[in-house]
Structure formats: structure tokens, C-alpha cells
Symmetry: C2
Subunit: 249 residues, 2 copies
């Protein structure tokens, strides 16, 4: 028996997120089915990040155990032949038997993309969130700075979450504009349910001038979801990479 790790990129547009669920097709389900068919044994992957419906990934991570004699590094080629074009295995390899994709994480990077223009651009609509009113990215950056560091992010966690400890560390947040596209990039040791999208929604409110940047500090201190901004749409979000003990996937 060996444990194999996959680095998975996907276009989340057509999927009901990562995790198996009864109402629609998910990334996890497609991987399980494809691996089971390919390896001729029942495979169940464990994912690092259970991305929401419509969210994309450049480097999510999954592991599974198998009796296969195919070398770990070769599996990605066989899988990519069989997977739909909106799911790509970037890397596959054998890992230690005790490697767990959630417990061993050292940091994750997410990117939130906003199209800030007078009209929506059809070729951007699947991978960004459209905002018509001008956003001031300097104000957004100023607001974002209050979130860097170790904080209780309860205000930025969806109300339905069952997590008890809502303290997380954000190592860095950058806000950059290239023409009509604003990119928010966040790196942290972990993110609560919907945390990145609620942060994006709150920064958008700051950028619109609806709240002053310093207000973000107050929102953090309130530890109450109702004070933060709305959850920004899924299509703007991409899980870019997951790092394990200085190794990037």
C-alpha cells in the first residue's frame, strides 16, 4: 500500500465545489470515479481544501492510498488522459504514509479577482467578479493591512460554521490593479469557511468608499459576522497554492 499525493488544478465553473454531495457533480467525485476506473480498486481521495461551488484552483492537493504498481509520478499522465478538460493533475507522487493534506499544511494562498470596468467583459466573466463603480485600490490595500497578523477572524466567518477556534494568521494580503483588473492575494496558515470571500466583499466596500479603511480594524474586534461586508461571488476566487513545510504545491 502506498500513499499518493495529487496537485489538482480546476475550473470550478461547472462543479458544485470539491466535496461529494447529493445535488450535483463535484471535483472529489470525478477524481474518485476516474481513479477507481484507472486503478481497478475503490479509491477515496482526501482533499486539502474543500472549495465552494464555482471556486477555481491552480493547486489544490489530494491524497489517496492504493495498491497500484504504477509509479506515483506517472499517474498524472494517465489521469489527465481520462479527466475532463476542466480538471488537470499538475503533479502526482508518492508521499509518506502519515502525510495528511489538511493537517500538514504550512500555508495557503488564495487570489480574488475583480473586473472593475464600465461594462462586463464576456471573456472575464467566469474568472472574476464584475464591479461597475470605480474601486480605489489604495483604500483597499490600506484596509487589508489591518487584517495581517494573528487575529480572531470570527467576523469574517460564515455564520453556519462549526469551527470553535476562529483564530488564524494572515501572513500577507496584497491588492494590485492592472488596468481594469484588481487582484487581492492572501497568504495565511488557514482560512475559515467563506473567509476569503467575506474579506474580499469587505475590501470591495472599502474600495467603493462605503466604509473607511480603519473600520476593518473595528469589524475584526466586534467578532460578529454581521459587521463585515457581503460574501463576494465565487467566480472571482482561486486557490492558488498550498505549501507544506517549505514545499509548494
Amino acid at each position: 500500500m502506498k500513499r499518493i499525493m495529487l496537485v489538482v488544478a480546476y475550473d470550478g465553473t461547472k462543479y458544485c465545489g470539491w466535496q461529494m454531495q447529493p445535488n450535483g457533480i463535484t471535483i472529489e467525485e470525478v477524481l474518485n470515479r476516474t481513479l477507481t476506473e484507472l486503478l481497478q480498486e475503490q479509491i477515496m481521495v482526501t482533499g486539502a481544501s474543500r472549495t465552494d461551488s464555482g471556486v477555481h484552483a491552480l493547486g489544490n492537493v489530494a491524497v489517496f492510498d492504493s495498491e497500484t504498481r504504477i509509479p506515483g509520478e506517472k499517474l498524472s499522465y494517465a489521469l489527465n488522459q481520462r479527466l475532463p478538460k476542466d480538471i488537470v493533475i499538475r503533479e502526482s507522487k508518492e508521499v509518506e504514509a502519515d502525510f495528511h493534506p489538511r493537517r500538514c499544511v504550512s500555508q495557503k494562498t488564495y487570489c480574488y479577482r475583480i473586473l472593475n470596468s464600465k461594462f462586463p467583459i464576456p471573456t472575464e466573466r467566469l474568472y472574476s467578479s464584475f464591479i461597475y463603480y470605480p474601486l480605489d485600490e489604495k483604500r483597499m490595500e490600506e484596509a487589508a493591512a489591518y487584517l495581517i497578523g494573528e487575529h480572531d477572524f470570527k467576523s469574517f466567518c460564515s455564520a453556519g460554521s462549526q469551527v470553535i477556534d476562529t483564530t488564524r494568521t494572515i501572513y500577507d494580503i496584497s491588492v494590485e490593479r492592472t488596468g481594469e483588473v484588481i487582484t487581492i492575494r492572501l497568504t495565511g496558515n488557514g482560512f475559515l469557511y467563506n473567509m476569503v470571500r467575506i474579506i474580499a466583499g469587505t475590501l470591495i466596500k472599502t474600495g467603493l468608499g462605503a466604509i473607511p479603511p480603519v473600520k476593518v480594524k473595528e469589524i475584526l474586534e466586534k467578532k460578529d459576522r454581521s459587521h463585515a461586508g457581503p460574501k463576494a461571488p465565487a467566480e472571482g476566487l482561486t486557490l492558488e497554492k498550498i505549501e507544506y513545510c517549505n514545499k509548494i504545491y
Copy 2:
């Protein structure tokens, strides 16, 4: 009766190109249907560029004549409410009765996007062409320089074309790399059938090292389609803008 001009952006992924045809849905057809419904009169648009199946646009141009009392500038809003999300009217306005979107063109700009990476990225697949082997963008730029100016582009025109005069002027071609994405941008007074995609395919061959950059000069001189490279895939191509007498759409 007034003549109204539309600047149209679209994601060409799901369409069989611009021009009406029996085998599938086209941009022209959707515009005609939507305008006819909205204005309650039979509308037939005339397009500036009959983009191929799968090709995208940021700024194609169409005109039509109508008896409507809706001001030209307001039409875009009413249309965008009714159009599918992959077609957006960026601008609408009344123009002179003799304005013709093909005859009055002063220049067009196309962009060809290549993803040059070790694995395809799912979120790039609809708007770029994937090339696994490393491309040398400096060689591509060197090759592109031979195409700038007034030339007979017969070698870069699909064999089926009925055009008699195959002379066109390319004002500029740039080849730029940003990380794993290479962008070829061409501006000219007009382009022959499949010309941009055949140029892109030929530059890709140069970038791969399959032919030396100077060979492009020879290909031009041969005036024979069989000497140029293959036609690069549609999904990488976007019609960026059309300019009319110093005015950009």
C-alpha cells in the same frame, strides 16, 4: 430611419462564429433575434468582422437601420438586459447613414494568446492555445518583424478564400511574455481569411525552433499557403478593436 452602430464584445466559445449559418448558433443570429424582439421590427445587422467559430471579441462592430425612437446611446442597456452573458454591447450610438462597418475601417487589432507551460491550466483553456514545449519569444518577435509593412500575404491566407487582392498592411506586431502567457498583438489595415491564426501558427513554429526567423521572409515571398505554418486554434484569438478614422471601438 436611423443607422445605429454597436460595439460588441463576446466569448466565442459556444458560438459557430459571427456569420449566420445553418449548422449552429452565431453571434449575428443572436443579435438579429434580440434586436427584432426589442424593437418590434425586422432587424438585420451588418458586422465589421466575421470572426470564426470559437474566436472571441472585445470590440467587434455592427450596424443596423431602424425606425426606433429609443435614442442610440440607450439601446446598449436595453440589449444587455436581454442578451446572454457571453455577449455584451459596450456601446451603441447613431452614426451617419453612409457609415459601413467594413468599408470605413482604418485599422483592426487582434490578439493571439498562448499558454506556454508544463501543463494546461483549466481556467486558461477557453481563452488561450496551450503549447507544452518551451517557446522562445525573442525568436518569435524577430520573425514577426518581417511581416510588418505592406506585403502580399497570400501565403498566410486559407486556400479556400475568394479574395483576389491579397495585399495588406500590418502596422505593428508585438510578441510579449508575462510568465507562462505569450501574447501576439497585430494591428493592420485588414486581415485575410485565417491570416492571424496562420501567422500565429507560423510564429509558434519559429518559437519552437522548427524554422529560423528569417524563413518568414521567404514564406511571404513564396505566395503559397503550403509554406506557412499551421492555423493556430481559434480559442487563442480575440478581435480587440476596430478603429475608424482615428476613432477606436
